[in-house]
């Protein structure tokens, strides 16, 4: 539905030139909750702004339902934005803010009024309709910003880190509320965040970005379980990286030999990857401690860290790499492992993921 093809965005000229987006291509589907996830400065806002029309890409095309968006000025694009700073008009009341877009679309007064009331009810702000925007709390401002952007019923809603200014509890509430609004309105949401947990909870699909590039686009589970690159694996959740030797490759899998000499099966992110040296990623909770002969790796238990829901075991492997195993805690069980003792690590076939270089 939104087709972004080969977008490049360069700011400045000559020696000061800075490329914020490099050949970005992606397709966002109808009614999707699509998230752009990446560290600060990776170009998320820039990509959002080029969809909204505040920056004009140096190269590439953006189409919305087949229509070229780049030929349209920002005020003609059927796209609305929830700004990171909310950008509520300080000289208008809550209701006037929500009505603004509708008035700019020249909708008749009665219709504007009923839409505003509908939106106020949707975000539970009816009681505060006549307050100035400086007289409401941060969470309320956030809801007004949302209502203002939703009121004109855009085809796409762009949200630039809309929850980052809220405290933890409010943030959790708003995550659920946003998801509910998206389902209820059926509007496509393009959501920007640098919080991986937020991305995993809310999104239908996630695009992981770094340094102006898109590294992987997938459903949250696929991104988490099968990161394609080292950066993705590292950025989302915790991961153990191991250097391995790929012995042979099949369709989706490969047989690998670990530094300990043990062999197992790993998934391939990239069907082009060949045999030879490679890096694999194993999530700490996908591995278990094992004392028997089945252990794939062996080392010394260096640390046992209790963290409430689970315990982290830090193991120094024979090749001096560190490996972390995470085990969920159960009530009543005693800690069976002692620091300084030998420990083995086991993970199932297919759990390890071969990363693209």
């Amino acid at each position: 539905m939104i087709e972004i093809s080969n977008i490049t965005q360069t700011f400045g000229k000559g020696r000061d030139a800075f490329t914020a987006l490099r050949d970005v291509s992606l397709t966002i589907r109808e009614n999707e909750f699509f998230t752009l996830l990446g560290p600060s400065g990776c170009g998320k806002t820039t990509l959002l702004r080029s969809i909204a029309g505040f920056v004009y890409p140096t190269a590439g095309t953006i189409k919305l339902q087949g229509e070229d968006l780049l030929t349209l000025p920002p005020y003609s694009r059927p796209v609305n934005t929830v700004f990171q700073s909310y950008a509520l008009f300080p000289h208008m009341t809550v209701a006037q803010n929500i009505a603004f877009g509708l008035e700019m679309l020249n909708q008749p007064g009665a219709q504007v009024k009923s839409s505003v009331n509908e939106m106020l009810a949707l975000v539970q702000m009816t009681d505060m309709a006549d307050r100035k925007t400086s007289q409401i709390s941060g969470g309320q401002q956030q809801r007004v910003a949302l209502a203002r952007a939703l009121a004109p019923k855009p085809k796409v809603l762009l949200l630039d880190e809309p929850l980052s200014a809220l405290d933890f509890k409010l943030r959790k509430e708003m995550q659920i509320e946003l998801k509910r609004l998206q389902t209820e309105t059926g509007i496509t949401f393009v959501f920007v965040t640098h919080d991986q947990e937020e991305a995993l909870t809310m999104s239908d699909r996630i695009a992981v970005m770094n340094e102006g590039r898109i590294l992987q686009i997938d459903a949250p589970r696929a991104i988490y379980d099968h990161p394609a690159e080292r950066f993705v694996a590292d950025f989302i959740g915790e991961t153990n990286f191991l250097e391995v030797d790929v012995l042979s490759v099949e369709a989706d899998d490969a047989t690998i030999k670990l530094t300990s000499g043990a062999t197992t099966t790993a998934r391939r992110a990239d069907t082009n990857s060949a045999t030879g040296q490679a890096t694999i990623a194993v999530r700490p909770e996908h591995a278990t401690l094992s004392d028997d002969a089945s252990a794939l790796l062996r080392g010394t238990l260096e640390d046992v860290i209790y963290s409430g829901t689970d315990t982290h075991y830090h193991i120094r492997l024979q090749d001096n790499c560190r490996f972390v195993v995470r085990k969920q805690n159960h009530p009543g069980t005693m800690e069976a492992h002692t620091v300084g003792h030998q420990a083995g690590v086991f993970f199932d076939r297919g759990v390890a993921q071969i990363l693209r270089d």
Binding site: T81, A87, S134
Partner: protein
């Protein structure tokens, strides 16, 4: 506590002294003079009379003692207020886009643009006024060019008209309009402007509904800053009006000079001050209305 309060008064005393003697003192003298009789060769006679105030707006016929409105004074008042208002409006029409232009430049070049606006302000007023004269006089740049290109045959009389005075004042006081508008525009959060565009606002509507209301305090301040000195302008109407188109400043000067009527000059000065005060009170009222009821 008491010692501290005493100390505060002590620290304040230089400022208070200056205020008392340098500001209120002369003002008081002017006020007193306006109720005295005019001396024969300038100065005042210490006799109480309200003649000067009467003469501000009215005059008594020399022969039959009938009272009529002082047409000359009224027309000068009217011209002063009219030209000052027009100057403020014209300065706004030129100054607002200028301030907007500068505020939307890259941060590095903004100071340079502001410098270009301010430099003329540091130049001597007379020199600037004569420069305008040089441009608009019959043999000046405008007329010469227009004749050269065959657009007109005889020069257009611009100099010594009300328009010339207004032109001169707009030129002279323009920085006073641009500066406060620029100051409020620089503080303006431009994501608000983006938000307005995002919500289907076209250029003009965004300007009217979002930008203008948010920089309004700057616009009002600029208008006052231009209006007040225009009202009391002396040099510009003198040079560009050629002594034919008097304004309040010239009228006052006339009373203290050739007219030898100091009390009338004093009464006119206070009238001018009153008009300025009314304008300022209007500003304060509007500014208070704009203020949010509860700070955030």
């Amino acid at each position: 506590m008491a010692a501290q309060a005493e100390r505060r008064w002590l620290l304040l005393s230089p400022a208070l002294l200056i205020l008392t003697f340098a500001a209120s003192g002369p003002l008081l003298i002017v006020l007193v003079y306006s109720f005295l009789e005019a001396g024969d060769y300038g100065g005042v006679k210490w006799v109480f009379t309200t003649d000067a105030w009467f003469n501000v707006v009215a005059e008594r016929d020399f022969f039959d003692e009938t009272i009529k409105i002082a047409d000359a004074h009224v027309s000068i008042f009217w011209r002063s207020v009219k030209l000052s208002l027009m100057t403020a409006v014209a300065a706004f029409i030129i100054g607002f886009p200028t301030a907007y232009f500068i505020a939307t430049r890259a941060e590095k070049s903004r100071d340079l643009w502001m410098l270009l606006i301010i430099i003329p302000f540091w130049t001597n007023l007379l020199i600037r006024t004569f420069a305008v004269m040089e441009i608009i006089r019959n043999e000046g740049v405008i007329n010469t060019l227009l004749i050269k290109f065959g657009i007109i045959e005889a020069p257009i009389q611009i100099l010594f008209t009300e328009f010339a005075i207004m032109l001169g004042m707009v030129y002279v006081y323009l920085p006073l309009m641009v500066l406060p508008i620029y100051a409020s525009m620089e503080r303006l959060d431009f994501t608000l402007v983006e938000a307005a565009y995002d919500l289907y606002g076209t250029r003009m509507r965004v300007l009217r509904r979002v930008i203008f209301p948010l920089v309004k305090p700057g616009v009002i301040a600029g208008s006052i800053l231009v209006f007040v000195p225009s009202l009391g302008a002396y040099v510009t109407p003198r040079v560009l009006g050629g002594g034919k188109q008097l304004m309040l400043g010239n009228l006052i000067e006339l009373q203290f000079g050739q007219g030898r009527n100091w009390p009338l000059g004093a009464a006119l000065s206070i009238t001018l001050l009153a008009i300025v005060m009314i304008a300022l009170m209007f500003y304060v009222r509007v500014a208070r209305l704009e203020e949010p009821q509860h700070g955030q």
